[in-house]
């Protein structure tokens, strides 16, 4: 009897004390995104090592501009867009990490809407979510088009925002339903670009929305990135052509630790705050943006190679907001 007790106790103790060991597997070696070398028989936990299975494609988002369905009424260009809000999607926002994102047209950030100063913009908004949502556009519009006092009900509620595009520059749009922080931090935002009547010089144009996710709801971001996926552009460098003008529309939409910045290596850029003035305010390699601040950056690389860009707030950089430009003589896109 005593033996039975002792055996039971010993087995129970061993079960808890010693880890379950696996069969020895072949060791693999890999180089991490920070340059370290790991040899392991197990799995690898690295934000850029695993295959990208995320539904949000930062590469596609980077250079995608939506000009809407255009028509002409009394000599004026009318641009019509449709934006559908949803709040039930669970997406992989960093390899292996799944989070309930709230989306405009199925992605975070929502589509980049682009018009020219003076165009008539019509945005048909459909709320397919389970909560009330709106769209609040920064820029000029009438009071009743503000997206604050016109809640759009869940389950198919509709509203059409109409206004004349302006002023020229880069503006954010986002849901403006309380609690605001919750609606924005889940992903209901996007970029609205207004081109000046006299076009800016031709350039390789791209959009970078500086965002983050608080996946454990402690009012601090667990992940940061440009265009949602942490470390994405570090693993997939953005290819640009030597000598070609690059224009980036950058928007800081962070919730929580919202003082963000953009630092460029090996170069300086002309910076146009909000993009409303045609004269740059600075020639610099670093700007700092508070929540909702945005601007246009213009630069050219004259030598090929890899150049880093990242938040100079190192915490954000080390939690995903970091990437690379690959400058080449010729770019295959």
């Amino acid at each position: 009897m005593l033996f039975a007790i002792a055996a039971t106790a010993t087995l129970a103790a061993l079960y808890f004390v010693y880890p379950i060991t696996s069969d020895a597997k072949e060791e693999k070696i890999f180089v991490t995104h920070t340059g370290g070398v790991i040899k392991t028989s197990g799995d690898v936990l690295d934000p850029i090592y695993t295959a990208q299975t995320v539904e949000i494609d930062p590469d596609k988002y980077l250079r995608e501009f939506n000009y809407g369905r255009t028509s002409s009424v009394d000599g004026k260009t009318v641009r019509e867009y449709t934006i559908i809000a949803e709040d039930d999607k669970v997406m992989e926002i960093s390899p292996g990490v799944f989070y309930n994102v709230w989306t405009f047209n199925g992605t975070v950030p929502g589509p980049t809407i682009r018009a020219t100063e003076g165009d008539w913009v019509k945005v048909k908004f459909i709320n397919m979510g389970s909560k009330t949502h709106t769209i609040h556009f920064h820029g000029f519009h009438a009071a009743e088009m503000d997206g604050v006092f016109e809640p759009v009900g869940p389950g198919g509620g509709q509203f059409t925002y109409e206004f004349e595009a302006g002023p020229a520059g880069v503006h954010p749009y986002h849901c403006h339903v309380m609690p605001l922080e919750e609606h924005i931090s889940h992903g209901l935002y996007g970029v609205y670009i207004v081109d000046p009547k006299k076009p800016r010089p031709p350039a390789d144009e791209m959009v970078m929305v500086l965002n983050g996710f608080d996946t454990d709801f402690d009012a601090e971001n667990n992940f940061y990135g440009a265009n949602t996926i942490p470390f994405y552009y570090q693993h997939h460098p953005i290819q640009i052509k030597k000598g070609e003008l690059v224009r980036i529309y950058v928007v800081n939409i962070l919730e929580f630790d919202q003082i963000n910045n953009f630092h460029l290596h090996g170069n300086l850029y002309h910076y146009y705050p909000t993009g409303t003035y045609s004269v740059p305010s600075a020639f610099t390699d670093m700007i700092t943006l508070s929540q909702g601040e945005r601007g246009i950056m213009e630069f050219t690389y004259d030598t090929p190679g890899k150049f880093m860009f990242h938040a100079h707030k190192t915490e954000f950089a080390e939690k995903g907001w970091t990437g690379l430009f690959l400058v080449q003589d010729e770019v295959v896109q």
Binding site: I5, H33, L45, G96, E315
Partner: protein, 388 residues
């Protein structure tokens, strides 16, 4: 013959039928599609049980202590995402552990917070007050722990045994007082071990293990087990050797207790808590001289048997060495709790044995010397525990 067969079948059926009904009810209540009992979404949980600082690497042992399977997606050091390897793999079934290896050039004596993020984005963190190189078993270290164990365990117990002639020449009342004093000393040690186990359970063990109930289970289990063994042992020996048998049980009980003490010291050194380990070494050394007294007391009416006393001193003290090895090289909160609880159970068994020994006297158990002895024993231990 036929009838016994049918009756056996009937008995078996009578044993099995309630089990079948019970399983059916559990399936009905909790099985697939059951909706009667639904308390919402179960939340995942990960416990970081160990953090070892090795050459250019931080090694984290994590266990899935939640009700559902999880997969670990990311590791961080001080809340900064770090690439890492996880062995055997990143999917953890309930209670399964994995080793996360984070390449990181850490700095000695600096505090670190290690975090693991699972697939739903929840981050679990564990803080280390000061990074210290993980202890690797080596001949030097094994002998170092052996020396520590000897100083803490064997030598003080042997010093305590030197009280033997003093106790041997005492009047019956005083002798009884000293036996009761021993019981008091031991009672304190037993309570102390339980408290220590509870503390470890609260600080280092996940709630999923029900650490406090584990303490209770192991204390009771080791108590009844040792009680049974000691009864057998004492009943088999002649009455003249009964006192020796009791002293032997006392030294075994104390030995199990000292295993726990060695474990605490080894773990403190292993976890890099230098101040704590020094404190424990000094404290246990002083404390353990009283244990020699506890062994000497039951044998005080015998002729002095130096060899036997010395052997018992070693039985009581040497486990401190094993404890230090286990604690230093293979620390886990759960094994620490189990060892401490076994020690407590053993001590309570010894107390019962001593009280039974005292009761053989015509005055019975409740006499002034016994009451005073138990109380004074407790007070001595309490005071030493404060002073150290």
């Amino acid at each position: 013959m036929e009838s016994t067969k049918t009756s056996k079948a009937k008995i078996a059926a009578a044993g099995i039928i309630p089990l079948v009904l019970l399983s059916a009810m559990i399936v009905y209540l909790f099985g697939p599609g059951a909706e009667l009992v639904n308390f919402g979404t179960p939340l995942p949980n990960i416990t970081i049980e160990r953090v070892d600082f090795v050459e250019s690497e931080i090694q984290v042992t994590a266990r899935n202590t939640g009700p559902i399977d999880v997969s670990i997606a990311q590791a961080d050091v001080n809340d900064r995402i770090q690439p890492a390897a996880i062995e055997p793999d990143k999917h953890l079934a309930r209670f399964e552990t994995a080793l996360v290896r984070i390449p990181y050039s850490w700095n000695e004596a600096e505090p670190y917070e290690i975090g693991l993020t699972i697939n739903d984005g929840t981050r679990f963190a564990h803080s280390v007050e000061a990074a210290a190189p993980a202890i690797k078993p080596s001949i030097d270290l094994v002998s170092y722990f052996a020396v520590i164990g000897t100083y803490v365990g064997i030598i003080p117990v042997l010093i305590g045994l030197l009280w033997f002639p003093f106790i041997a020449k005492m009047s019956p009342a005083k002798y009884k007082f000293f036996l009761a004093l021993t019981a008091g000393l031991l009672l304190f040690l037993g309570i102390d071990a339980i408290e220590e186990g509870m503390e470890i359970s609260a600080e280092r063990l996940s709630g999923a293990f029900n650490g406090q109930l584990l303490v209770a289970t192991v204390v009771v289990g080791s108590f009844v087990g040792l009680y049974y063994v000691s009864e057998k042992l004492v009943s088999r020996v002649s009455s003249a050797s009964k006192s020796v048998a009791i002293a032997l049980m006392v030294s075994i009980g104390i030995g199990l207790h000292n295993l726990g003490e060695g474990l605490a010291i080894g773990a403190a050194i292993g976890l890099g808590e230098i101040a704590l380990s020094t404190f424990l070494i000094v404290g246990f050394t002083i404390h353990n001289t009283t244990e020699g007294l506890a062994i000497a007391a039951p044998m005080a009416r015998q002729k002095p048997m130096i060899a036997k006393l010395a052997a018992m001193g070693v039985i009581a003290g040497a486990p401190a060495i094993f404890g230090a090895w286990i604690g230093g090289f293979q620390y886990s909160p759960i094994s620490a709790i189990i060892f401490l609880s076994v020690g407590a159970g053993a001590i309570f068994q010894v107390i019962v044995a001593i009280l039974k020994w005292i009761r053989q006297d015509e005055q019975g158990l409740l006499s002034a010397p016994t009451a005073a002895g138990i109380a004074v024993g407790m007070i001595i231990m309490y005071v030493t525990s404060i002073l150290i």
